[in-house]
């Protein structure tokens, strides 16, 4: 039996993060960590060493785009697959970073089923993340 996959959620809405955590953990396969501060995301990610990151874009202290750029410059985190999970309807990420293959995008409100499927797909497409 493989080790439980680790997922980091970076979202300033604490309750939303916790709800996703509950939904993912009750699914059984995941260990989830929630970070609500964009500025802390890099440190937390280094410590937690997730297999995948769910990243909000609009956050008060640091945008998801900036967090993602920090990750892309970090040797430990560079190859990690991540998913923008955002309430923006047309995030610029689709244009700006579409060439980076380890990035996916989900629009809020996303269904539990859809979220799980996206996580599975991203992980199997980028197994090097772990």
């Amino acid at each position: 039996m493989a080790q439980r996959k680790k997922i980091l959620i970076v979202d300033d809405e604490k309750q939303f993060g916790e709800m996703i955590k509950i939904n993912l953990e009750t699914e059984g396969d995941y260990e989830v960590c929630v970070e609500t501060r964009g500025r802390q995301a890099l440190d937390t990610a280094r410590r937690f060493n997730p297999d995948l990151i769910l990243l909000d874009i609009i956050m008060p202290d640091k945008s998801g785009y900036d967090v993602a750029r920090d990750f892309s410059l970090d040797t430990q985190l560079r190859a990690k697959p991540f998913i923008y999970l955002t309430a923006l309807s047309k995030p610029e990420v689709l244009l700006r970073e579409s060439e980076r293959k380890n990035i996916a995008y989900l629009a809020k409100p996303v269904s539990r089923e859809c979220l799980l499927e996206a996580i599975r797909l991203q992980m199997s497409a980028h197994p090097g993340g772990g």
Binding site: F16, N23, A87, S89, K108, P109, S111, R112
Partner: protein
């Protein structure tokens, strides 16, 4: 008491045409006018018949005066005057009359002769004076006429300027309205994006919560399941409202290419097919063969078709048939309310692709018809209508330089007509 007399000596010489068949009178009149009275000598040309007088037309030196006997061997009375007047419109005419011709002489005065002279009272000095006055009056009359003509030309030019000013003003007002509309849209767009973000976050949380409970609710828990389904549907509806609001205010540029309409209709149909089946409504399509390609943004035009078909379906309630027809035609005046002002997308004579979607519903009440394109106006609020569907459709079509008109059919039901530019014409205009 002093009488002022006309000073012939100071006047310039007159060039006179004398039309008189009586040789005695002719001679006498010639003598009167050519007599040298210390001034310049007048020049008299004599003609005995109307034909001979008319032959003088077009001489290099124009006559100042015509002395005209009305009764000539080849012409009688008023007719003589008419002929001479139309042949020499710029020459003063003094009619020579016998005593019995007084009535005709009065008539010639009314019709433009400068004066008349009874032959019985041949009094040289007076006659010369009458003639001088006649010439002077004619000169003033002609000057007046020219001035009038010029005035009229100026007036016409002024009216033309006024007309073009009116038109510019109209164009300006239209442009201003467009600008206001664009500015409004921009505000709505920013507002919508802001609201969307703020609303989608809580919606996301509700979705996560609802989905969590879905997963763990016991299969037999009917009431609970109903609650969750209702909540889930409500989240979906709220999300749809936000999406439409964003669509409505979207300022994204079109990606326009020549497209065949038939595949677009098929694709749109694919999205609404489920609704057709649910309502047991038939769909009939009459596509004209060899329809030219239209210059459209595929995705947006699909959205237009889906919205219009959905509207038709909803109007229908259930059963019946919805017709979709396409044709390629030259616009005739008066058939559709297409404009004929500058800036209107189409004018009569334009070749257009026409698409009609007809339902068999109850039609649109008159008090509603004027508001159907107003953003947020809806008669389907209870069914989740946002009042943005038709506004979006109209915006999209107008961005294509097309035309949308929705009207009640005389046979009942509503017809939505879309006019689009064929790819050729659109390229030509670009």
């Amino acid at each position: 008491m002093q009488t002022r007399t006309f000073q012939t000596t100071e006047a310039k010489a007159l060039n006179i045409l004398l039309v008189e068949d009586n040789p005695v009178e002719q001679k006498m009149l010639e003598t009167i006018f050519t007599a040298n009275r210390g001034g310049s000598r007048n020049h008299v040309t004599s003609a005995e018949t109307l034909a001979a007088a008319l032959e003088q037309r077009g001489r290099p030196l124009a006559f100042d005066l015509i002395l005209l006997d009305l009764n000539l061997p080849d012409s009688e009375g008023f007719h003589t005057f008419e002929s001479i007047q139309s042949a020499f419109p710029e020459t003063a005419i003094v009619v020579l009359t016998g005593t019995r011709d007084e009535n005709i002489a009065m008539e010639t005065l009314r019709c433009g002769a400068q004066d008349y002279w009874g032959k019985g009272s041949l009094e040289p000095k007076l006659l010369v004076r009458v003639c001088r006055y006649a010439v002077e009056r004619k000169r003033i009359e002609i000057e007046l006429k020219h001035a009038n003509e010029q005035l009229k030309r100026h007036e016409e030019a002024l009216l033309e300027t006024l007309e073009s000013l009116k038109k510019s003003n109209e164009d300006l007002r239209a442009t201003r309205l467009q600008l206001i509309q664009a500015a409004k849209l921009e505000v709505v767009g920013r507002l919508a994006a802001g609201i969307a973000h703020e609303v989608k976050n809580p919606l996301a949380m509700i979705r996560m919560g609802v989905d969590y409970f879905f997963k763990y609710i016991p299969a037999g828990e009917k009431t609970g399941r109903f609650m969750l389904e209702s909540m889930s549907e409500a989240v979906g509806r709220a999300d749809m409202v936000i999406k439409e609001m964003l669509d409505f205010s979207s300022q994204q540029a079109l990606v326009i290419q020549p497209e065949a309409l038939a595949p677009l209709v098929e694709r749109a149909l694919f999205f609404v097919k489920h609704e057709f089946d649910k309502r047991q409504t038939h769909f009939e399509m009459q596509m004209q063969e060899n329809l030219p390609l239209a210059f459209v943004d595929k995705t947006r035009m699909e959205q237009v078709l889906i919205n219009l078909m959905t509207n038709a379906l909803q109007a229908q309630q259930s059963g019946g048939t919805i017709h979709l027809k396409t044709s390629f035609l030259e616009l005739q005046p008066g058939i559709l309310p297409v404009g004929n002002r500058r800036g209107d997308p189409f004018v009569p004579g334009d070749k257009v692709i026409r698409l009609d979607i007809e339902d068999e519903g109850p039609g649109i009440p008159a008090d509603v018809l004027g508001k159907i394109f107003d953003p947020f106006f809806t008669t389907k609020r209870a069914e989740g209508g946002t009042g943005l569907g038709l506004s979006v459709v109209k915006n999209i079509i107008e961005m294509h330089g097309g035309f949308l008109c929705i009207r009640n059919r005389s046979e009942g039901g509503v017809c939505a007509t879309v006019l689009l530019k064929p790819a050729e014409a659109a390229r030509g205009a670009a």
